[in-house]
Symmetry: C2
Subunit: 382 residues, 2 copies
């Protein structure tokens, strides 16, 4: 695997800009819109081997390989490359930073052409539907009519679901991991606490902090809340227990326990690469996402020709398996070909980034069957 790994080597983020304005679900118009994206592998002659990977809340277009001068590979590095599940010998892999993001795509930190200043809160509210609309423009720009697969975990899975909803004819298959057709009030509540932590930060200044001090503390708290929900009670027990830290900081409310130090570290490193306003916009888009808003899920799925692979993790309490089972049940009622797999991981929601070997196995075989034109929908457990 290490050998294959090296083969992917240095990758570069590219940028596509649509100058005409994008009409958003809200009716507002936004433009120009730039999407940052990366590709791996080669588009085949009949342009039929493209796979779109959609990232989660804090992810970006850099899904695999290394950026020049960096030692950390992309966020799903072990799944993408020659001989890997998303085999770059077979597939043309695309990943783009979402609309509203802060990693190269147009978002609240981008320059508003109307004012020549960063948008801040003048940026319009965006939806998962808008993110997918922008992705469709990118796919078109790349000359691709139909995707072999659209794939995503967590918010990435919402985008994949949205593709099935708004452009199912352009999608041959979808892989949905640790995701939901709509947020429960508990999921909304955790996002809301993150937003409140950001907006409570003195430096947030109603979102007008660009060029000034940024609301780093609030954003770090938001990220800390997130990390608790990404882990499971068991994985925390195994990783930290009640282990106390060695350092002798005399401050009374220092990180005494390893788990406190871990959260603080995760918060502090996150703020270096993420924009607080993007956090607000993207989490709101997640909370408003509701595939059942107009009609029951089985009606949304009815008539879809795409084949689905749905993966859930038993210890994931942020996106609990009942939410994935609901999707699969609706598929079954609608006669959609869906394979459901429940993985017995202890890693909680993080499992979708961690349980690479199990995911690789499932994804490899699913894509092989999709590519050969045959899949038998099935339910199994690991």
């Amino acid at each position: 695997m290490k050998q294959a790994n090296a083969a992917l080597g240095i990758v570069e983020t590219q940028y596509a800009t649509v100058t005409e304005k994008l009409e958003l679900e809200s009716g507002e118009k936004l433009g120009p819109v730039t999407l940052a994206y990366e590709t791996y592998g080669t588009l085949n002659h009949d342009r039929s081997n493209a796979v779109l990977i959609c990232h989660a809340l804090s992810g970006d277009a850099h899904v695999a390989g290394y950026h020049a001068g960096e030692h950390k590979p992309g966020w799903w590095h072990d799944l993408v490359g020659p001989g890997r599940a998303f085999d770059t010998h077979k597939y043309f892999i695309i990943c783009s930073n979402v609309l509203g993001g802060c990693r190269g795509s147009t978002g609240p930190g981008s320059i508003n052409p109307a004012t020549s200043e960063p948008y801040g809160l003048r940026f319009p509210l965006i939806t998962i539907g808008d993110m997918v609309k922008a992705q469709q423009l990118l796919i078109q720009y790349l000359g691709i009519g139909r995707l072999r697969a659209v794939v995503g975990g967590s918010m990435g899975g919402m985008q994949a679901l949205q593709w099935l909803h708004s452009a199912s004819g352009r999608v041959e298959s979808a892989i949905l991991i640790a995701t939901a057709a709509k947020h429960s009030p508990q999921q909304i509540a955790f996002n809301e606490v993150g937003r409140q932590a950001i907006m409570a930060d003195h430096h947030w200044q109603d979102g007008n902090y660009y060029g000034e001090r940024r609301p780093l503390k609030g954003l770090a708290v938001a990220r800390m809340v997130g990390h608790i929900t990404y882990m499971s009670e068991v994985s925390m027990l195994e990783k930290f227990g009640r282990q106390q830290k060695d350092d002798k900081d005399p401050f009374k409310f220092r990180a005494d326990f390893e788990v406190e130090g871990y959260l603080q570290h995760r918060g502090d490193s996150f703020v270096k690469r993420f924009d607080a306003n993007s956090y607000l916009y993207i989490t709101k888009a997640m909370d408003f996402f509701d595939l059942t808003a107009e009609r029951p899920l089985q009606e949304v799925f009815r008539g879809i020709g795409a084949k689905l692979l749905v993966i859930g993790f038993r210890s994931d309490w942020l996106y609990p398996i009942w939410q994935l089972q609901e999707i699969v049940r609706a598929c079954k009622i609608a006669g959609v070909n869906a394979t459901y797999c429940e993985i017995d991981s202890t890693y909680g929601h993080d499992a979708f980034l961690v349980e690479i070997e199990q995911e690789a196995h499932l994804i490899t075989h699913f894509l092989k069957r999709v590519s050969s034109g045959y899949t038998a929908g099935d339910v199994y457990e690991i």
Copy 2:
């Protein structure tokens, strides 16, 4: 019940001050120490009918009855009064605000006699052991040698456990509800996020905010995180679903969903009655509490004559039932008389404040058996 309710009527908080310094577990000395407390019912002739109720993180001494001019009764009002589970015809009920608190007892907002200014972070770190040590002085001050029962939910249960540890000879029985012998890393993590939210608030000023603007936003965020953990996924679904709010606030990141409005309301009302520094000190005391620090739990319990009633709630994921089962298992090994009851509530951790009828039934019978000198330890489910 309403009739009996009226009978308790107006109650008043009282104050007891120990002028000699209290030696804390850390070795530091603190004094003078004042405890705010309330009592209900009458101490009998042989001073044998006293029951101490210990409050949770955000509670106070006002457990039942009404303060003059107020319409909201105490926090466990329906359990305390004539004919109720804590029957004021039979028992002399005591509840005191914890050391480190902000509701009349000495805490970080109290005046430091050395400086004539509020302590702020000069207040020493306190432990659950210190809280109980102060309670023991109060009990002594009231002329009571032995408690009929010590009772508490959540952090109140930790105090009851601590009584069993450090003064088991002074306790005839204990009622432990939705609590733990030590915090798991997940429990520590949630508390740490609350602390970080407070300390991230610009107005916190290293704890020196008394007389200035207080860190209300940070404290509200801490409380919001808390409230998510107090409810269950199911109780949130039942209470809020994805119900959206009616008001048309044009602000983009307003509370769109009912659950967001609820959390904001809870946060905002909490900051009116609670001190941010107390939140820091008390949560640290909870996180450091570890009854197993010196020896296994069964060894801690060995030889204890007190009878125990242990109550857990199945949907409580903040203090999951395995933590209560661990306590009961240790009791059984140590030969301690313990009755365990698991209540099938959907209210999550809040159940200990909500499932009054079920608790009343269990507590009434347990106290009756304790008072008659007979209890048969047992395990049952509701």
